[in-house]
Point group: C2
Chain length 456, copies 2
């Protein structure tokens, strides 16, 4: 009898799980269910399609259900909701009532956009950034609006604000925390990002939660801090919460961050026991932090792909584990790239760690070589062990490789001393300084440690 | 009595040593001697000044002797040759006959361009790429030549060929080895680089040593493999050898790679003993490889800076050591960047290691995001331990951070498994693929290891 594998969710996690299961079991019957009409697209690419950097919404869709059927013998069922899962009987029941048995089940239903419970949140003209159809709706609305409020200054909110600004609209970003990309990057780095966005013409209302969206038949203004900001369109980028519809129905354990708790094999828990033959992947689950013991939410496509791979191997009867994660991320806003990995100073303090930090600003090329762009690197280390806990970068180019460099270093237990003394950097005038800004940040951190030592 | 520190050589190694010594000893009397007229410039920047990317030769010079005197109280003596060093009496004697005592001495006299011992090598119109004045002479010669032969297809030779080609000249590169950047990168990666240079219009004569430079009063042609290549200018980029004039005079031990052997503290040896109060830095010394036990030549400005720092600390009475090195490097040729770290497959085999390699080609952005450039990554690992020994990259952008990523990973003992399972990469459509090409290369390597395992 061939193995029956059911995957719920057709995002990065679910489709990677399905494809990986196929690689590991050529005979399995693999079905994927999704409520969405479109599959295999990158949600952040929706923003680029709204802006028009990517010409149309079709081109962000990597593959169709036909592709999966023909090339991988995987049946993808779009616009199909799974109503419930019976963990004991090992069956999935669709909204239509059809029940299907499984040998292995992968849950990858992702996240839901959080919409603040305020007056007017459902008015026409108020949007969340979610799927392809949602993106098309925003694009259509922007045809007739000149004034947009983006709620939330996280990475997605800022990306959206830049995209709308690039379309020539007036944009105001309203954020309840005092700095952009809150918690994820520290205030000093956030200030560089915000300043750049302001230079692009984006207005910020910081430290001010939105309290209402006003309008008769459609959005007319947003209220925050008692001030009314007129606008024709509101785009809410107020975060993603794990989609817990099925996990709650199934009685799976939800961890302290409001997402499914999973083992290294990505199996969920129920009544304090691992659930057999079920695996989770993507935005619906918590990860273990690799910087310090404790749970983190990753909520990245790149993470979902890695988890999907583990879930797929295990669903196909193999064995793989998902390790603790640092969740490195990068984004491009106007002319600058911002990136981070591991813990910010704020998050490290939340975890009870004492930190020291070092920061340096340099150029992406030798000083005398034309075209160099400013780049700032920050490294956060544990004050006692000098182990690096996290890093942040903001610069005009060449940020991604550097954040991966910091990520691998942290995962291998690197200390500030490693960076300051043994970690060499490649140099040529058109691509780097003779001492890279990351190494310079480590040197600055060494100075901080020396000072701290002298004070003792 | 203030400490008397003498530094011989005013390149990256010597000047970093002098500046670091000053930081560590505010009272020392520091003198730097160099035969060169100019100081504190990057030799590879000379090529950009010849091409005109950098407007003039002055702008590649970071600092003048006046700067060092005024800002750091360091006396830099240009056009001043040191004739000998008396190690026992601890004195330096200048060519003028003046003898100067020292408490600490830093030797950083760098390398000499190797000129093959062939007919015509000293004819007018035949150049080596060396210093600022040499660069000016090449620039002047190119005013009246349309046809140039570059001898040597190493990084410097290729950079020179691209620069001359960008000036609209006919360029032929003659190389004795069958592939460009021989030994440093492997044939498959070299092929990508060579193809790109050919697309720029550069002609290659490979696997063919030059046997003569012909001409009556000045260069008229180059002979290689029995074929005569007419040209008005020949630029020899046939490698750098350690400058051993002073080490030989001082009786210092020369290692098997023809360079000064040094301890971790960067002290040279004489009669099997460490020499007290003398330190070396830069192109004149051998390093220990961090990929496998054995000596390597680094010959990089970035290495010289790191060694200069160690030499400077020790010369000022402190204690620092220079660790084993991987010597990551990067270069920009036309539209592509090439980089490497650690051992190539060829070098690993020279060291007696069995290797497995993985390679992947991807894009620098998401497939659907405009402007992505091709990038190829290769990882070489030890067949037994799976430890990564080296990496190479060729791509249109964002290569430097990735090679630093590989470098730190190797230095921390990373295995292929680390890359394939735990090393996350940051992702956003305008700067990366959801799985980075470096991780994809590791996946390819894992497949090779699986196949090798199945064969057993």
């Amino acid at each position: 009898m061939p193995r029956k594998i059911i995957v719920i969710g057709a995002g990065a996690g679910g489709l990677t799980a399905a494809s990986t299961a196929r690689e590991n079991d050529p005979d399995a019957i693999i079905d994927v269910f999704t409520e969405d009409e479109h599959i295999a697209y990158s949600p952040c690419a929706v923003i680029y399609a709204i802006e028009g950097v990517i010409k149309d919404f079709d081109s962000i869709i990597m593959h169709t259900p036909q592709f999966y059927k023909e090339k991988r013998n995987i049946s993808v069922h779009t616009r199909t909701r799974v109503a419930s899962v019976d963990v004991d009987k090992k069956t999935v029941t669709l909204a239509s009532g059809t029940a299907m048995p499984y040998d292995s089940l992968v849950l990858a239903t992702g996240g839901k956009m959080f919409v603040p419970p305020i007056e007017g949140a459902r008015l026409p003209g108020a949007f969340t950034i979610k799927d392809v159809n949602g993106g098309k709706a925003i694009k259509a609305a922007l045809q007739t609006t000149n004034c947009v409020v983006v709620v939330g200054a996280g990475v997605i909110g800022l990306m959206m604000a830049v995209a709308v600004r690039n379309l020539g609209k007036k944009v105001t970003v309203v954020e309840r925390y005092p700095n952009v990309i809150p918690r994820i990057i520290d205030e000093d780095m956030a200030a560089i990002v915000q300043k750049h966005c302001e230079e692009l013409g984006i207005r910020f209302v910081m430290g001010t939660p939105i309290t209402a969206i006003k309008g008769k038949e459609k959005v007319e203004s947003v209220v925050a801090g008692g001030v009314e900001y007129p606008c024709g369109t509101v785009i809410m980028a107020t975060g993603i919460r794990a989609n817990l519809d099925l996990p709650n129905q199934m009685g799976l354990e939800i961890g302290q961050l409001g997402a499914v708790r999973a083992s290294g094999t990505l199996q969920p828990y129920r009544n304090d026991h691992l659930v057999k033959d079920i695996y989770v992947a993507g935005d619906m689950m918590m990860c273990e932090s690799a910087a310090t013991p404790g749970p983190i939410m990753s909520q990245l496509g790149s993470t979902a792909v890695r988890q999907g791979r583990v879930a797929g191997i295990n669903a196909a009867g193999g064995y793989a584990t998902y390790p603790a994660a640092l969740s490195p991320w990068v984004t491009y806003l106007g002319e600058i790239q911002a990136a981070g990995t591991g813990l910010s100073k704020g998050l490290a303090e939340y975890f009870g760690l004492s930190t020291v930090e070092g920061k340096a600003t340099g150029l992406t090329r030798a000083r005398y070589y034309p075209g160099g762009k400013s780049i700032t690197a920050k490294i956060i280390a544990d004050k006692e062990t000098h182990r690096i806990l996290g890093g942040q970068l903001v610069g005009g180019e060449e940020v991604t490789g550097r954040i991966n460099w910091l990520t691998a270093s942290i995962l291998k237990g690197a200390t500030v001393e490693d960076f300051a003394t043994s970690f060499e950097n490649a140099y040529c005038p058109p691509t780097s300084m003779v001492k890279d800004v990351v190494n310079q940040a480590a040197d600055a951190l060494m100075e901080q440690l020396k000072l701290a030592c002298q004070k003792k």
